[in-house]
């Protein structure tokens, strides 16, 4: 039986260029580069006021607390108590519910603005990165102390197309200037912008980059990204961090993946990544469309598959293997073939199309938004928002959650 996707869109007015959900706060960038914020509890209270408590509870699971949605307890309730499932989802008249939120105002932070047009952003460890045509900038924003005044520091002054941050490190795509990284100085008890780490270059060309756990995938526009394995160490909790965490120390040399991908598509075995160079792969019709964490979405002459990257053991080479959960017949060809970017959500792949937004899960492929959006943003490493996303419209921003039924 085919699944149906129910989606909720929480729409806030305003012209924004990007937005994040971070530590119970929505963070927004205005067209002139200023950082704004709004506590999520205020959005939730507005939903309850406007649409009622039932809708607010649905928004809890689908947007504000995806950790609840992913729980076995919730899954069991929906599976084994159909009356409860039907009642919970009765707020949806069709497959989508839009709530126009009014009466909330984003507040201006005291971080200095980004200079120039913003192409990408990243928020991690209370650090805010904004990438654009004039360079990469770093500032601090702690939702617990949103009124703090923070400088915005220039990291590099060349165009930066994409930025990501995790594992104590920021990585950013600089086109001809390569894929560059820098460790993050959290500066506990110190002024964080003193004694910043140097920027290093780990690949010679980059238009986009993404994490595969802590390893990097570097996109160059070729048939497949390069794979850069992270060398890590464990770090004890300090500052606001509560747990031990793995910190990236450096990256290995970039590896070509396309040869191993082709073998993995036609094998039931795990294929080691040897870095084999295969020429003219784009002309054979084989291309990696994008990734969702360690899942690669691959198109082979119009046929779509998912290949997993396994790089758990430092003593073994990284391997690729065919993911049998995402079945080709469930992946709608048009939506996948025309995707211009992908992002990571727990359910699968978030697809950015020219004039629509899609979602691929193991159960199916869905058009979540059948209209153009300026930009999409997912939060795969968030504990509470790892299976929802933000969509920027012309004069609004939407927090979008969904559930398959």
């Amino acid at each position: 039986m085919n699944s149906i996707l129910k989606s909720i869109r929480i729409r806030l007015p305003g012209e924004w260029v990007d937005a994040w959900l971070y530590k119970e706060t929505a963070v927004f960038w205005s067209p002139d580069g200023f950082l704004y914020y709004l506590p999520l509890r205020e959005i939730r209270a507005a939903i309850e006021r406007i649409a009622g408590r039932h809708v607010a509870v649905v928004a809890d699971y689908l947007v504000f607390r995806n950790d609840w949605k992913q729980s076995k307890q919730f899954s069991d309730l929906l599976t084994f108590v159909p009356n409860l499932r039907d009642s919970l989802l009765s707020v949806f008249e069709g497959d989508s519910l839009t709530i126009e939120v009014e009466g909330v105002d984003q507040r201006l932070s005291r971080s200095a603005p980004h200079v120039g047009y913003i192409l990408d952003t990243a928020v991690y460890g209370n650090r805010v990165y904004s990438a654009g045509e004039s360079g990469l900038f770093e500032t601090e924003f702690n939702p617990q102390f949103p009124e703090s005044e923070n400088p915005t520091i220039e990291v590099v002054d060349n165009e930066v197309l994409a930025v990501i941050a995790n594992g104590g490190r920021a990585a950013f795509s600089c086109g001809e200037a390569g894929l560059r990284t820098r460790s993050i100085e959290f500066g506990f008890g110190k002024v964080w912008w003193d004694n910043l780490a140097k920027v290093g270059t780990v690949d010679d060309y980059s238009i986009d980059t993404s994490f595969s756990t802590l390893d990097l995938l570097n996109y160059t526009g070729d048939a497949a990204p390069h794979f850069l394995r992270a060398r890590t160490r464990w770090e004890d909790p300090s500052g606001s961090a509560q747990y031990r965490q793995r910190i990236v120390v450096d990256y290995d040399q970039p590896l070509e993946m396309i040869g191993a991908i082709r073998k993995a598509l036609n094998s039931n075995h795990r294929i080691a990544m040897s870095g084999e160079v295969v020429t003219d792969s784009l002309e054979t019709g084989l291309k990696v469309i994008g990734n969702s964490n360690y899942h690669l979405l691959v198109s082979d002459n119009g046929r779509h598959s998912v290949i997993n990257i396994s790089a758990l053991s430092d003593s073994k080479p990284a391997r690729l293997y065919r993911n049998r959960g995402f079945r080709e017949e469930k992946m709608g060809s048009g939506l996948v073939s025309n995707a211009i970017s992908t992002q990571t959500v727990t359910s699968g792949f978030l697809l950015e199309g020219f004039d629509s937004t899609g979602l691929i899960t193991e159960r199916g492929t869905y058009v979540v938004i059948d209209e153009p959006r300026v930009r999409l943003r997912a939060f795969p490493r968030s504990r509470r928002h790892h299976d929802c996303f933000v969509a920027i419209g012309d004069n609004f921003v939407e927090l979008v959650g969904y559930i398959e039924v």
């Binding site: 192409l119 197309l161 025309n338 300026v374 012309d394």
Partner: protein, 145 residues
Amino acid sequence: MKRTCHYVRSNGTAQYYLACDENEYLCHPHHRMPSKASTKSQWAISRPEECHTYCQASLPTPSGDGSGGLWYISVGAERVLGTKGERLAYFEIPGDGEAVPRHGYPVGPNRRGTPHRPDPVLVESWQRSGRIARHVADKIRRGRI
């Protein structure tokens, strides 16, 4: 704009047109050769349409970005121009004294070796004039189309 461009002559696989701005335009064969697709983008539209996209980049006001060339994007970026879904086209304009005719090719998302990307000032002007919507302008600037 009244369309007056028309085919003039051939030289092997190269076809020459007289464009609406009365300049000679070359439909370069390299951009209609699948064997060259790995290094040269390929037109998905006919040669007369290719010439007229140059005409629309040139008239009434040249849509240059200071690089010496001209850019074309259809209204709303609705039209797909290249075989890989490209929606932009770039036309190289010879300098004074150069005997090379005008010719162009589809331009797609950022990739290694992409010779040109439209200048942000030009993209802003397309958006301000209403030729493209905000979401298209942002995707161009992010190198996604």
